[in-house]
């Protein structure tokens, strides 16, 4: 174990722990833009700088391994000034449109500008113009809002193993884009969107939907495959408007394209909204009241049971639906109808 002191608090950490990780264990807040505990350290944004006794100048805490007897200071007038300058530089060519930005209120850069009170900008001048339309249906790319933290590029490579995007050009012209600056053509998992600290990447389906006001968050479980990813449903009234996932979940916040962007079926206009009955064989399905539908089901099923016995009836339960529903469904067939003719589509 390594013993070090951070802001006069001492801590023991295993070898290989970074100074930033050690500080977070002590609940010491060091600002970051390019850090994500699920990815390798990168050291791009320079906001996590700290002073270490014996070091000639501040170093990035996310890339500095903790060493025995280190004495670290995470906040000082110098560090504050350096960090504020960094934020000013980032904002100097950032579109100042937080009012209409989809990520407003959920943006690390916006929060830092507020915390460091960046109202005017000493470096204002040329603005980048990297935006180009991208026809993919899922991911909105607003490259003028990119701070080049590299989280999207790294998550795509390190976690997803796809490498659909990379850096091109240098300096002011530097940007993140797919090969040959074409439209995104990837798995559309949206991992990049989930780690983006600004409005540079967002879901196309989020546009024009409420951001915070009136938005209800509900923790639930994804409805697609058997991975069982934990998701948070963002809803407004009776509409699902976004799906996200928490870093602390067993799926670590990662989702696939279906889980993250495939939720709009829920609010489709062709949902069934009333019971339907085919009153005579060969006739059409017609709307009916619930009472009529339930009566019809009970009468017809009871009739078959009476005439042909319980084994002339069968139920197919659902691998899509809940344990409770499935439990009650099989109990209905077994204990009320009296047959074990119950199965579901585990086999296909």
């Amino acid at each position: 174990m390594i013993h070090l002191t951070i802001d006069d608090k001492s801590i023991e950490v295993p070898a290989g722990t970074t100074v930033l990780e050690a500080a977070r264990q002590l609940d010491i807040d060091i600002p970051t833009l390019c850090y994500d505990s699920r990815l390798k350290p990168y050291g791009a944004c320079r906001l996590c700088i700290v002073e270490i006794a014996g070091f000639p100048k501040p170093v990035t805490s996310c890339t500095t391994p903790a060493a025995d007897n280190m004495v670290v200071r995470t906040n000082s007038a110098l560090l504050h000034r350096l960090r504020k300058t960094t934020i000013e530089l980032l904002l100097s060519d950032h579109p100042n449109d937080c009012m209409v930005c989809v990520r407003s209120g959920d943006c690390t850069l916006q929060e830092l500008a507020y915390l460091y009170d960046v109202r005017e900008n000493r470096f204002s001048g040329g603005m980048r113009d990297h935006n180009r339309p991208d026809a993919n249906p899922f991911i909105q790319r607003d490259q003028n809002k990119c701070v080049m933290c590299g989280l999207c590029v790294r998550v795509c490579e390190e976690v997803q193993g796809v490498g659909a995007i990379g850096y091109s050009n240098r300096g002011f012209e530097a940007k993140v884009c797919p090969p040959f600056e074409k439209d995104l053509n990837c798995e559309f998992c949206g991992q990049c969107v989930s780690v983006c600290p600004t409005g540079a990447l967002s879901g196309k389906m989020w546009a024009g939907q409420p951001r915070q006001e009136g938005v209800k968050l509900t923790d639930s479980t994804c409805t697609y495959c058997g991975c069982g990813c934990n998701i948070t449903l963002h809803s407004h009234g009776d509409r699902l408007i976004r799906v996200s996932s928490k870093k602390t979940s067993h799926n670590r916040g990662w989702l696939c394209v279906k889980g993250r962007f495939g939720y709009d079926f829920v609010n489709r206009g062709d949902r069934l909204t009333t019971p339907l009955i085919r009153r005579e064989k060969g006739g059409a399905l017609e709307p009916a009241s619930w009472d009529e539908a339930v009566q019809f089901v009970v009468t017809r099923m009871a009739g078959i049971k009476e005439k042909h016995g319980p084994d002339a009836l069968a139920g197919l339960a659902s691998a899509r639906c809940t344990n409770e529903e499935n439990y009650l469904f099989q109990k209905f067939f077994r204990s009320v109808i009296g047959t074990n003719n119950i199965d579901h589509c585990a086999r296909y």
């Binding site: 993919n136 249906p137 899922f138 976690v159 559309f188 509900t218 923790d219 639930s220 479980t221 409805t223 697609y224 495959c225 058997g226 809803s235 067993h250 394209v257 279906k258 962007f261 495939g262 079926f265 829920v266 062709d270 949902r271 069934l272 909204t273 085919r278 399905l285 339930v294 009566q295 089901v297 017809r300 099923m301 078959i304 002339a312 009836l313 069968a314 139920g315 197919l316 659902s318 691998a319 899509r320 344990n323 409770e324 529903e325 499935n326 439990y327 099989q330 109990k331 209905f332 077994r334 204990s335 109808i337 009296g338 047959t339 074990n340 003719n341 119950i342 199965d343 086999r347 296909y348």
Partner: protein, 545 residues
């Protein structure tokens, strides 16, 4: 699942998903994991990044092949022979775990003898995988400390699916890779709550918790809990219901949240069966292909509109919570079933009410000791992997640590003979058709094809065909092909691609307008009654119409 249950005493993923990253060797066979279980796929990529060696055995060049140390391209339907040959080499080279075999298994001698003919050369001949690669696979898997096997429908949806599962289990037992952390035999479940539907007794032969309907003691236990008399006669599995409908012995069906009219192999056969019913009730959120045939359609609720639990592939019980209200007069699914239940029992329409999901779970937990320790108070804090027999039990990430669930506590070796697929290519139908899912869609597409984005990136059905075969037919990507089997015919666009080997074509089964299951074979595994959706013989022609 019957295969694993026979070997180990219960059938589910033996290990948890997080442990995958700790494997030092992985064998992925019959699972296109990154497309069908993308987040489990991430753990496999993580394992590889940490230095694990990955063996992918799949006729198709699935995306995971890019991460593989070794790719075995076996001919469709030859999985068990491939596994037998790998095990033959493991024994030949002394890579088996004798200690594990002696302490924790039975019937090894017969099994060992049964492997004698399955030399690497024999395996190469039968599977098309070079003998040297079979040896390499045996060395990678046999020399690993923690090796996990991952499979899905590519192993099970065959007429010899149970055999395949036995072969997978044999390999894990032979190398001592079950009953410990970061190893195991792991069937990946295709749908959010297949595990839960099985756990809850939606199977024709068992009550909730895999308690057999044919054992009088079990029957009495559930009669006492539920009241009334229960039938001791096992019911029909779904795949046999089709035949019973056609024969007229099955007259009424209640289909809840499934779309068998599109997902069943040999669809035209099953459509005919559904039309032959006297009475069909379908409870769903959309007018599915099956609902269109119904006499009554009951509008239910989506996952975002209800409270309950799902159980994931790794036996993890998790909360589902209501976020929004259902549209129009659509109702909560649990309440619909509850009302019909009570109305049927009373003989007249019972009053509508919303049952408490927590209480229903509690009732199920009181009847199945493996989840006796699970309740909503605990689930509201964190999910739990069963078995969890007591309120202070933390749940079980991996199974069979001390013993297997079979009588005697040992795992059973099973000799697996070579069995050919039911329908092999011939002169008239020279290609092998295999089916599956693609990343952007899910099952019969009832949900995903209604998602604007997903449908935009994957708008239409296609048939993957090898460039060699495409050349022979004079067809290019995007041109229409007619695919015909003994059971049906569909037209769809060619996607010329080296993903499939020559003489094999692949069609995803999501698309109703070109339903792959019109072609597939409804031949069944004799034990599991699963249908052979993964191999059938087809003819391919350029579509001139």
């Amino acid at each position: 699942m019957a295969g694993l249950a026979a070997k180990f005493g219960s059938g589910a993923m033996t290990n948890s998903v997080a442990e995958i990253a700790e494997n030092d060797a992985l064998l992925v066979i019959g699972s296109n994991t990154t497309e069908n279980h993308p987040i489990i796929g991430l753990r496999m990529k993580e394992a590889v990044a940490k230095g694990a060696r990955l063996i992918v055995a799949d006729p198709r060049r699935i995306p995971l092949v890019k991460f593989a140390t070794l790719w075995l391209r076996q001919k469709p339907g030859t999985d068990a022979v491939l596994l037998n040959a790998i095990m033959h080499v493991i024994l030949e080279e002394g890579l088996e775990d004798r200690d594990f075999i002696t302490r924790r298994t039975e019937a090894f001698e017969e099994f060992e003898a049964s492997l004698a003919p399955f030399t690497a050369e024999f395996g190469a001949e039968a599977t098309g995988v070079p003998a040297e690669d079979i040896r390499k696979a045996a060395r990678i898997f046999g020399s690993a400390v923690n090796a996990g096997i991952y499979y899905a429908m590519g192993i099970t949806q065959h007429s010899m699916g149970t055999n395949n599962v036995h072969a997978v289990g044999n390999l894990a037992m032979l190398t001592g890779n079950v009953g410990k952390r970061a190893a195991g035999v792991n069937p990946l479940r295709g749908q959010n709550n297949v595990q839960g539907a099985c756990d809850m007794g939606c199977l024709p032969n068992v009550y909730p918790g895999y308690q057999s309907v044919a054992i009088p003691g079990m029957q009495q236990k559930f009669e006492a809990a539920w009241g009334g008399t229960l039938s001791g006669k096992p019911g029909l599995p779904a795949t046999e219901m089709t035949g019973a409908m056609l024969a007229g012995s099955l007259k009424g069906m209640y289909v809840f949240g499934e779309n068998p009219a599109l997902s069943d192999p040999n669809t035209s056969h099953s459509l005919k069966a559904f039309k032959n019913l006297e009475f069909l009730v379908v409870q769903d959120i959309f007018l599915t292909e099956t609902a269109e045939l119904a006499d009554v359609v009951l509008p239910g609720s989506s996952f975002a509109e209800k409270n309950g639990t799902f159980t994931s592939s790794e036996r993890r019980i998790q909360r589902v919570r209501q976020a929004i209200a259902s549209p129009g007069e659509a109702r909560n699914d649990l309440a619909i079933i509850d009302q019909i239940y009570r109305s049927f029992a009373a003989g007249s329409v019972a009053e509508y009410r919303l049952p408490d999901a927590a209480a229903v779970f509690e009732e199920a937990a009181s009847l199945w000791p493996e989840i006796a320790g699970v309740n909503y108070q605990r689930l509201d804090k964190d999910s739990i992997c069963w078995p969890c027999p007591a309120p202070d039990h933390p749940g079980t990430p991996f199974l069979f640590k001390a013993m297997f669930s079979r009588e005697g506590g040992r795992a059973l070796f099973t000799a697996v003979p070579q069995v050919l697929s039911d329908e092999l290519p011939d002169e008239q139908y020279p290609f092998v058709l295999t089916t599956g899912r693609e990343l952007f869609h899910y099952h019969t597409g009832t949900m995903t094809r209604r998602s604007a984005g997903l449908n935009a990136v994957a708008p239409e059905a296609f048939v993957e065909i090898n460039p060699v075969d495409a050349d022979g037919l004079g067809v290019h990507s995007g041109e229409s092909l007619r695919v015909t089997s003994r059971r049906g015919m569909i037209d769809l666009k060619a996607r010329v691609s080296g993903i499939v080997p020559p003489q094999v074509v692949f069609i995803p089964f999501h698309y109703r307008e070109a339903a792959a299951n019109l072609l597939t074979n409804d031949a069944m595994d004799p034990v599991c009654r699963i249908m052979e959706a993964k191999v059938c013989a087809v003819r391919i022609e350029k579509n001139m119409s």
